[in-house]
């Protein structure tokens, strides 16, 4: 493999529906067509919010990938979408038509809200606390393609394990649950203190009942799931909101701007955060850089009317 061969062509003439057009390869990227090193060949990135696809669609996409990829290969992108590799630009039109016919959309690159990523969430993952897949669908429907100053990546993790890497996103939502304990149903079996991986629960040496340290709790819900009698229960579910993370050459860790934000507030939080970014950021700047320049308090203030008063988790057990 010659690693240094690259076709530098950026504009070509192409016949499209009987008329001749000039296609600028750099413009194509906005529609999810990414130029490859090889002459005339592109990667076509599909739109798979939350990395999920019905099997009938997957079968049809496979057929199209097999038909249009000159090498007969696909690649799973780092943001969970399927990419058809080695597609000749002259075949874009029929490929897009065939993709549309099976209800498959092409993703996008460039300065806009990207396809959201998500873990399995509470629908089928035992650790999941929030409906990450449903939220990813909502973002795809409501916000995908919204123009921003630079790429804008959103992800959803269903629990504090944070598989969807919310700390490395422009806007990340991580699910959590606040536990509460009721003495009458507790048998002092000590399973909760075994189940807690954070040492937030100690068992009383005499009674076996839990001694809870909220400052160590990361709100994962392991105690609730492990408790045989339901003495540990979910007091409330919500999301920690992280803003301004990124990977790349100069990674930034996101800032936590709020916690225990309920599901129904998420669309407004996204809208308000993008609005703030468009007002305070500058073209070509990621929101993390805007935050560093303007200050996280400014964004928190902008989010206040949306989020309202959310009680801090209880810090002491009386």
């Amino acid at each position: 493999m010659d690693r240094f061969i690259e076709d530098k062509t950026t504009k070509v003439k192409v016949d499209y529906e009987g008329a001749e057009h000039k296609v600028d390869f750099n413009d194509l990227k906005t529609g999810g067509f990414i130029k490859q090193r090889q002459k005339d060949l592109f990667t076509v990135r599909l739109r798979c919010p939350g990395g999920r696809m019905p099997t009938d669609k997957l079968v049809e996409v496979s057929k199209l990938a097999h038909k249009y990829s000159k090498k007969g290969v696909v690649h799973f992108s780092f943001r969970q979408s399927l990419e058809i590799l080695y597609v000749d630009y002259r075949e874009f039109t029929p490929l897009v038509k065939e993709l549309e016919a099976i209800g498959m959309k092409v993703a996008s690159c460039g300065p806009r809200v990207r396809v959201p990523t998500a873990c399995g969430g509470c629908e089928y993952n035992p650790n999941g606390l929030t409906d990450t897949q449903g939220l990813a669908r909502m973002v795809d429907e409501k916000f995908f393609g919204t123009p921003t100053h630079h790429k804008f990546k959103i992800s959803f993790s269903g629990c504090p394990i944070d598989c969807a890497r919310t700390r490395g996103m422009d806007l990340g939502f991580q699910g959590l649950v606040e536990p509460e304990w009721e003495e009458p149903t507790c048998t002092g079996c000590t399973i909760c203190s075994e189940a807690c991986k954070e040492d937030a629960i100690e068992s009383d040496p005499d009674t076996g009942k839990p001694i809870f340290s909220p400052d160590k709790c990361i709100y994962c819900g392991d105690c609730i799931r492990a408790c045989p009698t339901g003495a540990w229960r979910a007091k409330r579910y919500g999301h920690t909101i992280r803003v301004g993370g990124k990977h790349g050459r100069h990674p930034i860790d996101a800032e936590e701007v709020a916690t225990f934000v309920p599901d129904e507030k998420i669309p407004d939080v996204i809208e308000k955060t993008v609005e703030w970014y468009m007002a305070k950021g500058i073209r070509g700047e990621r929101i993390g850089t805007t935050l560093a320049r303007v200050g996280v308090e400014d964004l928190k203030k902008a989010l206040e009317p949306v989020i309202g008063e959310i009680a801090a988790p209880e810090k002491e057990r009386t």
């Binding site: 000590t190 399973i191 040496p205 076996g208 799931r225």
Partner: protein, 90 residues
């Protein structure tokens, strides 16, 4: 919870004699749960299975999974570095 037991605990878990007992000490996750599940499947509703599990991962995971399958954990006893749990098939 060594030998000490509260009145509440005593009331909630009288000494139930199990119909079947399996010792899964040394069996790793998720095989310990799979074996528990298979044993429960072969039993009648209402019967009690006793399972002996190591501390650490096994006791962190197996009771959760048993609960998620809809069975009831009716008794838990800690014994040194392992647990003896009783599960009622539902």
């Amino acid at each position: 919870m060594s030998e000490a037991k509260t009145e509440a605990a005593k009331a909630a878990s009288p000494d139930i004699s199990p119909d079947i007992s399996i010792d899964l000490r040394g069996t790793l996750c998720p095989m310990n749960f799979v074996k528990t599940k298979l044993e429960l499947e072969a039993m009648e509703t209402g019967q009690v299975l006793e399972v002996v599990l190591d501390s650490g991962e096994p006791i962190q995971n197996v009771p959760k999974s048993i609960k998620e399958e809809g069975h009831k954990i009716v008794d838990v006893k800690r014994e040194d570095d392992h647990f003896r749990i009783k599960v009622k098939k539902c």
